[in-house]
Symmetry: C2
Subunit: 502 residues, 2 copies
């Protein structure tokens, strides 16, 4: 019965099957599950729930840390189990159900969910389902590859189901730093002053009377899909590194920069790989997810410490980490997302934030979430937490995609997640726009000249010039501001418009 | 020679005329001036500069705390002196020059300007011009009715000009709390835990070798225009207070709520007046400006302490404050705007933020700055600092204006300053939309039903319903999303569109 995994005698008798655990979930319940960027998600109970409930219309509200792995969000959506989902998702099937209106999605800044629960601005959580590596003798919990909102779910939920994952070595204990936001009205500072500052415990306290079941699983996390750097991401990385090197030359940054954050995903990961060949040294990260690139940078001696809320890596990297855990143990820390993404800490540390845009407009307003204004892709995640509070807020995007049918620089974004006030730098494979201290009309010239693709550049210039004829702080032509999106929706290409105009 | 005002012997010899001081300013200089919401602005030197330079094309960059009084921004713009202006303005003449493209305006979160200067992300300041009540023996400075960015300007500028304002009693010493953000890479927390927490000094340190002139003035601040509560603002206040009372009943807030912030302006001021008749007690404020309503609430025994960056009140209230200064002295504190608007402190304290929207859309995206997408009104000011980090982010607006020609609830705002992620509550005279925990399509129903004006409600519903037919997380019809603005620009009324459609 894996007594090394369940050291708390009172909980040994609580071991049940995943199906039995899933049966505790009834219509309309609010469930809080572990899982952040597919790391440490519920692998047994949510799957059993999805399998159980064909046509039950359970209509649950599901909260997580961030995205879940193993296609579980899709299975739950397909089987008609989800009524509401927050604060993030990245599942293609769930996405369809959200965009068809079948599932309501509340897209939140990842720093805020725990606080909204604490403040009772969200409904009370009926059951927390949390993956753990081990239950200590006093019932306290050793988490696995992410922290996410798990500590808050455990503390606030009426009942708790634990998934003990045997595939995670118990030696993982020690890399978590569990800290709770204090309650109003009097709260003191979150006392982090460096990426490596430890402020909490390496376990999650647990009121064992809340536990209604303990389930075993041995499924590893869904592996991250890692893309090798290609011509575009290499070019973006080069522009960015050149810029940062110039900042060092100008005396604004030192050779170890300031703590780096990089958004989840293939592009950000590929760009971070570019730092391996750079002159920077003794770099640190204060981020929300540690991807393959982080461990490559640690191996290359470039990154000395990395703090985040999860480890989301390829199968190969996963092996490498756990086969050499003693090497990595004192170089990484996983925090609750209310802390990894805390406005207070990000601003204090002066994080250099690198996030991926879906598209951005000529004034530097950035869309991170929606396609053509209406359909959601994933969610805002932590991009707002970091972009708003960063020392430098950098957004990267290829200038075009789908051959040349989509320009990622557009006259006006049809959905704004980050306003021009929160965007310092935009980088595409064509170049870098440094927007610091520029007014909107200056920003437009900088972005169009440096970032847009040659196919679309003349048309962006034309839009901007004609808009300026009417004046304004942020000149726009409202009658045609969205024409590129409309053209794309109607013909499958923005380029079609350009050809017609030309 | 007012030796009680200039107690530092070395600076007595630096007294010059405003015109002489203005002559230090040469082409292309970067000037940092005191002044925040028209309080403690430069009243002598900037005016002398405006008078001096007909056709000189000085092309200066002017930084302030926030808006300046005495129409000085307009005079400077008219006389062709300004090339760039940041981080806020509210002058109708300057506004014209910005919207015509003659002056470049950099619209910044008010918390960020000082830090951008510290980080050298803005050009170095050549001359600081700062209003003071008194120069202490060691050269340190007692500020007047605002702090704004003055402490940073004094610390970072190459040269300093001081305006000693004889109309401000020297007894003002003691209400300022001057604190500097630390420098990267290692910074500790801003140690404020309550509105009244003092963390700094009541004076601004000064390197007297930088002083190139001391000028006397006796002009008081431009008085604030105060509007008495009218039917609309009374209705908005009632909805808001009812909501907060329900939060107390639900156990989420106590009777003294959490610290209040209210944006500058007539509407916010009138709404705060509504708290006088409420059941709340021992209220506190952590805001950026103290308006008449704050002092009315102090007089009524409702507010026990108020922290901000400035005092901007009517002439009557100004008299009242300075005639009873001993009564108010221990109930107010003025801080640098990097502190009054600090993300860290606002989130820690759990500020209830009440800001005015120009308009908002059916999903709760808020525009605070632009008319019809292009023309700027004032600027984002501190609204973003507070809305993003607040315990409750509340936006107020009348549902319509210009008789019924403008609806302030629109299908899609043509400029986004605050995305739906940062907006919890919207209030108009018709009602209150509580958006917490709602998905966009739920938000739309809540906003349209509770906040829109009956004239426009059916048309908002119609837009929303037709948009939903195409699906999406945030359903929109891009071909007509801006039709109301376009109609308004062409006919002077959004109502015209509604009539045509009906």
């Amino acid at each position: 019965m894996h007594k090394n995994r369940i050291q708390c005698p009172d909980l040994l008798g609580k071991v049940i099957s995943a199906q039995e655990a899933a049966n505790f979930i009834t219509k309309g319940m609010v469930i809080g599950t572990s899982g952040f960027t597919k790391a440490a998600d519920s692998k047994a109970v949510l799957q059993a729930l999805a399998d159980r409930t064909l046509n039950e219309n359970l209509a649950i509200t599901l909260l997580s840390g961030a995205s879940l792995g193993h296609d579980i969000d899709g299975h739950l959506a397909e089987n008609n189990i989800l009524a509401k989902r927050m604060p993030f998702q990245s599942d293609p099937v769930l996405r369809k159900h959200i965009n068809s209106g079948e599932v309501l999605f509340i897209d939140q800044h990842l720093s805020e969910t725990a606080e909204l629960i604490d403040n009772k601005h969200l409904p009370e959580i009926d059951i927390a389902i949390v993956e753990v590596a081990k239950i200590n003798e006093d019932g306290s919990l050793v988490l696995t590859t992410s922290v996410g909102n798990s500590a808050t779910f455990i503390a606030r939920a009426k009942k708790v189901i634990l998934e003990v994952n045997l595939s995670i070595p118990t030696s993982i204990q020690g890399i978590h730093d569990i800290y709770y936001l204090q309650e109003h009205p009097i709260r003191t500072a979150i006392p982090i002053t460096e990426s490596h500052t430890r402020i909490g415990t390496d376990f999650v306290p647990l009121d064992i009377s809340k536990v209604i079941g303990v389930v075993f699983t041995d499924l590893p996390d869904s592996p991250a899909l890692v893309a090798l750097p290609d011509e575009k991401t290499k070019a973006i990385a080069k522009h960015l590194i050149d810029f940062l090197q110039n900042e060092v030359k100008a005396g604004r940054l030192s050779k170890n920069l300031l703590p780096l954050q990089a958004g989840i995903g293939k592009i950000a990961n590929a760009i971070l790989e570019g730092f391996i060949e750079s002159d920077f040294s003794d770099l640190t990260m204060y981020s929300e997810v540690l991807q393959d690139s982080t461990f490559d940078l640690i191996d290359a001696g470039k990154v000395s410490f990395a703090s985040a809320s999860s480890i989301t890596v390829s199968a190969e990297c996963y092996e490498r980490i756990f086969n050499n855990f003693d090497f990595y143990r004192d170089k990484i820390l996983l925090r609750p997302q209310a802390i990894s993404n805390a406005a207070e800490v990000i601003r204090r540390l002066g994080v250099i934030a690198i996030n991926t845009a879906i598209d951005c407009d000529i004034y530097g307003n950035v869309n991170s979430t929606h396609l053509c204004g209406s359909k959601i892709m994933n969610g805002i995640g932590g991009s707002g937490d970091f972009a708003r509070n960063a020392y430098l807020s950098i957004f990267v995007t290829p200038s075009i995609s789908k051959e040349d049918r989509i320009s990622h620089i557009v006259p006006m974004v049809a959905h704004v997640d980050h306003s021009e006030h929160d965007v310092d730098i935009i980088v595409t494979e064509h170049g870098l726009a440094d927007l610091r201290g520029l007014a909107p009309t200056e920003r437009a010239i900088e972005i169009i000249e440096n970032c847009s693709h040659p196919i679309y550049k003349p048309h962006l210039k034309d839009y901007f010039q004609r808009a300026c004829e009417n004046g304004g702080q942020t000149p726009h032509l409202l009658k045609e501001a969205f024409d590129w999106y409309i053209q794309y929706m109607e013909t499958g290409s923005m380029q079609a418009l350009v050809e017609i105009e030309a």
